[in-house]
């Protein structure tokens, strides 16, 4: 009997992991547009990117202001592969990252090792 229960709980946990890490996704934060017509969002780096999903419009300059709050070497760089950007994030310094998304789509950004992840959804 306990074997059945343990296995059922195990399967349920696996289903939960698959759903939580792979299938679900957060809604994301929409970037605000500044007076200069730039879509801007502040991103805090602390063991992850907050927010980690940013929604922007295509064809309009995007500026993400990264502030790294942890000292973990994993987060010392942020890489936007599709836009050819790699920015150093010294702890406690606001670092602007700018790019122009042309086509709608999802563009990932991550730390250098790909452990911390986020994405920009271009609409």
């Amino acid at each position: 009997m306990d074997v059945v229960i343990v296995n059922l709980v195990g399967v349920a946990l696996i289903a939960l992991i698959v759903w939580y890490f792979w299938l679900s996704s957060s809604e994301g934060t929409a970037a605000t547009v500044t007076a200069g017509g730039v879509q801007e969002t502040r991103v805090v780096v602390h063991g992850g990117y907050e927010p980690d999903t940013i929604r922007v419009k295509a064809g309009q300059k995007v500026r993400l202001l990264f502030t790294r709050q942890d000292a973990d070497p994993c987060s010392e760089k942020v890489v936007f592969d599709e836009f050819g950007i790699a920015a150093d994030l010294p702890t406690g310094v606001e670092v602007p990252v700018e790019f122009l998304p042309e086509r709608p789509g999802e563009y990932e950004f991550a730390c250098q090792m790909g452990m911390l992840r986020g994405k920009v959804i271009v609409e």
Partner: protein, 824 residues
């Protein structure tokens, strides 16, 4: 048609945008720049465009660079360190002061780190500083690189020391915990089940709590922030593993009734303590090793001079290097560092440029020669005029480029990234499956085995080794390149370079010096050689033709005294005539001699021979009679032959492209040992030649001077731009060779191969480790051999696998190019 953004001529097959059928774009960069603001370029599409292609032109173009490539706040952001702020309202005051300065787009002040970040479009640093001062505060530009680097190093050092403390704490607790965990093995321990041992174990439960939550605190915070972002990482695995071990042990101790079998009432506090200690130690070692991977960049940053001695109001004064402005006259004495880039106006010296160009032999410098900031003056004293300062200096640009490149990704990492993003949740699933399998099918006590194997799987899996494999090697490889004067723009370029099988060389300026020099003086009359050359050179002094300059230069090198020519006359395409010291001197081709009434038939044979050798020959007539022939040729660079031989040794096919005629081209090719030559190629067709080679299935590297060859460099799989002096054509190639020598091509390819080999070693190691380690931890060997891995060993393996990866990457630091070995 013309690319409206960069002004480059583009073909029918170029990139297009909707609604403008008449426009073509050379690259995605230009196309996106156009799309961002079409109106700006539409009016100019017929004109010259915006300066050179990807040039360091006006600020407009640089702004476009920012948009197109998305450089991270690089060119139009100024950071000021602000002093004197006492409250948050000062922030608003300073922001307002800065924003109202002409040329400022936006300003933000950070009260916490006392820094202003100003986005500018034309405003100078001085104006910004003045604005802040007027508002009643003090400001100075942040010496970004060095200071940020120091702060970063300090933060790393703090973290390292904390990790070590955490390790020692965990290690000290581990010793008694290990001892009392094995009453069967160690002597003097009360028997299992006794109240005395239970009390000792209860003490261990309490003692391991601070290990769990202080020594291993970062595991939990790391796991939690990852979890919030719907990701999982190494911390997730470790924190679940050590917590599970602690919870099971504590439950067995507190509620023995829940565990019907005596054998189940065992504790694993040692797993919690030892695994924590090992992983923390691993993190500390990894931190140290990773700091070394960026050593090359730190060296570059450390090379930046701090002060400069400039002449102000006729007096020599020492000022901080940031205060040097373009046009300043800078004084440099022997043994001093040259503070900024410039051109020598008086004096001469030898300069050690090895730190920038990788060239170990000091370079002679005289008036008019360019000097590079951060290089070291050896012998003489000289004065130079500053031409590039601050962020514009060659060293600053190299630093920025290396930094960008080190952060970029090699294509191979994209595959690894995909794997990595599934890795940790997959391990979690495997751990659950392991638990289920052991619980269902395992031997008694099944629960005990299930817990141990699950914990071992969680602890052994090392996503870090996978994640570190590529970037660390890339950091070291690109840093090594910069040390050798090879600037690799991206991981992409570095990876592609190791697959190159064909090297296309542009002749002029790449294989050869790119400027003619005197090679032969043949006497055919009764005027002796030096006199003949002196007269010919004196006549050519009036000429501005490069061939004429070569003759003048050659005569000077031989120490001949030249006279001023009179009655100079030039017939374009034929020759020149002048009167020198009373003699009528004519130089030109045979037809020109005939026109001048000089019988030059005797020169024909000599002309044919020189022409066969790829030289340009001119007949010299003096006072109406044939005197001889002088020849000039573009000379081959000193190390071209050796470099091309080495390319052949590496199994590369070498092709030379040139606009010259077949005869000259083949003459040069023979001398340097090139087997395949494409002569009479128009500059615009070079890209097509590269394309044709690619159509044959070749992976082509194009080596050119970066200005005329930009389209061909872009077309090639890897474009290598030859830099000369301070004029590094960094924008056009994937790889820039600071020292304009073909040996750099060899070094770049060798470096790429070495780096890729290192990356493969790391990846194979990391994949093998995980794909073998996880199943063994899960107990696949148990049914056959009865082998089960201890979670303690799993913890040690995990802690050192990532250290191994980083250490292997650091091995690359000892890599040396084959050409410098030959010299040494």
């Amino acid at each position: 048609m013309r690319d409206p953004v960069c002004g480059m001529t583009v073909g029918e097959g170029s990139l297009r945008v909707e609604g403008h059928p008449d426009l073509g774009f050379c690259s995605e960069h230009c196309r996106s720049a156009f799309l961002a603001d079409p109106d700006r370029y539409l009016g100019e599409s017929e004109g010259e465009g915006h300066g050179g292609h990807h040039g360091h032109g006006d600020s407009d173009e640089e702004e476009e660079d920012d948009v197109g490539h998305g450089f991270a706040g690089r060119r139009d952001i100024i950071h000021l360190s602000v002093e004197g702020m006492s409250c948050a309202s000062c922030v608003a005051t300073i922001e307002k002061a800065l924003s109202s300065t002409p040329g400022v787009v936006a300003a933000r002040v950070n009260f916490a780190n006392e820094e202003a970040t100003v986005e500018v479009d034309g405003a100078e640093v001085d104006a910004l500083v003045a604005a802040v001062e007027r508002a009643g505060y003090h400001a100075r530009p942040v010496a970004e690189d060095a200071e940020a680097e120091d702060a970063e190093a300090e933060a790393r050092e703090r973290l390292y020391r904390t990790l070590l403390k955490k390790f020692w704490f965990a290690a000290i607790i581990s010793l008694p915990v290990i001892y009392f965990s094995y009453p069967e093995i160690f002597p003097g321990i009360p028997p299992k089940g006794s109240t005395a041992l239970n009390l000792i174990w209860a003490g261990m439960a309490v003692a391991t709590l601070p290990v769990l939550f202080w020594s291993g605190g970062q595991f939990f915070t790391g796991a939690w922030s990852a979890f919030k972002h719907r990701t999982a990482n190494m911390y997730t695995l470790i924190s679940i593993g050590i917590t599970a071990a602690w919870l099971y042990s504590t439950a067995a101790l507190l509620f023995p009734g829940m565990f019907p079998e005596e054998r189940l009432r065992d504790v694993f506090f040692d797993v919690t303590a030892v695994v924590t200690a090992l992983v923390v130690l691993g993190s500390a070692l990894e931190l140290r090793a990773r700091a070394k991977t960026s050593e090359a960049l730190k060296k570059l940053i450390g090379m930046q001079p701090k002060t400069a001695r400039v002449v102000r109001d006729g007096v020599e004064v020492d000022i901080p290097v940031e205060d040097v402005v373009v046009g300043d006259i800078v004084v440099v004495r022997p043994g001093e560092k040259i503070p900024v880039d410039g051109v020598i106006v008086s004096g001469a010296s030898t300069v050690d440029e090895s730190m920038v160009t990788g060239e170990s032999i000091p370079v002679e410098k005289v008036e008019g020669d360019p000097v590079i900031g951060a290089t070291i003056n050896r012998t003489g004293t000289f004065r130079f005029e500053a031409t590039r300062v601050g962020k514009e200096t060659m060293l600053s640009q190299i630093i920025q480029m290396v930094r960008d490149a080190q952060g970029s990704k090699a294509p191979i990492q994209r595959t690894v990234d995909k794997v990595a993003s599934y890795f940790v949740p997959a391990v979690l699933i495997i751990a659950i499956l392991t638990f289920m399998t052991w619980y269902t099918f395992g031997p008694s006590p099944a629960l005990l085995y299930a817990v141990i194997t699950m914990v071992t799987v969680l602890v052994i899996a090392c996503p870090c080794a996978l994640g570190l494999a590529t970037p660390t090697s890339l950091m070291v490889g690109i840093g090594k390149g910069a040390e050798a004067g090879i600037l690799i723009k991206s991981g992409d370029a570095l990876e592609t370079a190791h697959r190159i099988d064909t090297v296309v060389l542009d002749k002029t300026g790449t294989v050869t010096e790119g400027r003619p020099s005197l090679t032969d003086v043949v006497v055919l009359g009764d005027v002796e050689e030096d006199r003949l050359l002196a007269l010919a050179a004196s006549a050519e002094r009036g000429s501005e033709h490069p061939l004429g300059e070569a003759i003048v230069e050659g005569a000077k090198e031989r120490g001949l005294t030249l006279s001023e020519p009179d009655d100079f006359e030039a017939v374009p395409g034929h020759g020149i005539a002048a009167t020198v010291d009373g003699h009528r001197v004519v130089l030109g081709n045979l037809k020109f001699m005939a026109d001048q009434g000089i019988a030059a038939g005797a020169a024909e044979e000599v002309l044919a021979r020189l022409s066969d050798e790829g030289k340009t020959a001119m007949v010299v007539g003096i006072d109406g009679r044939l005197a001889g022939v002088v020849a000039v040729a573009d000379t081959i660079k000193a190390d071209s032959v050796a470099a091309i031989r080495r390319m052949h040794q590496l199994g590369l096919e070498v092709v030379m492209l040139t606009g010259d005629n077949v005869r000259t081209a083949e003459a040069i090719a023979r001398q340097v040992g090139i087997d395949r030559v494409r002569a009479e190629v128009l500059p615009g067709d070079k890209a097509a030649e590269v394309k044709a080679l690619q159509a044959e299935g070749k992976v082509v590297a194009m080596v050119g001077d970066g200005i005329n060859d930009a389209p061909a460099l872009a077309q090639a799989d890897v474009g290598l731009a030859m830099g000369t002096g301070t004029d590094v054509a960094m924008e056009s190639g994937d790889i820039t060779l600071v020292k304009g020598s073909l040996t750099g091509v060899v070094t770049a390819i060798e470096l790429s191969k070495a780096t890729m080999r290192n990356i493969y070693q790391n990846l194979v190691g990391a994949f093998a480790y995980n794909t073998l380690g996880i199943p063994i931890a899960a107990g696949v060997l148990y049914p056959f051999f009865g082998i089960l891995l201890s979670p303690l060993i799993a913890g040690a393996a995990m802690a050192f696998s990532s250290v191994t990866v980083v250490s292997n990457a650091n091995r690359l630091r000892r890599w040396r190019p084959s050409f410098s070995q030959e010299v040494a």
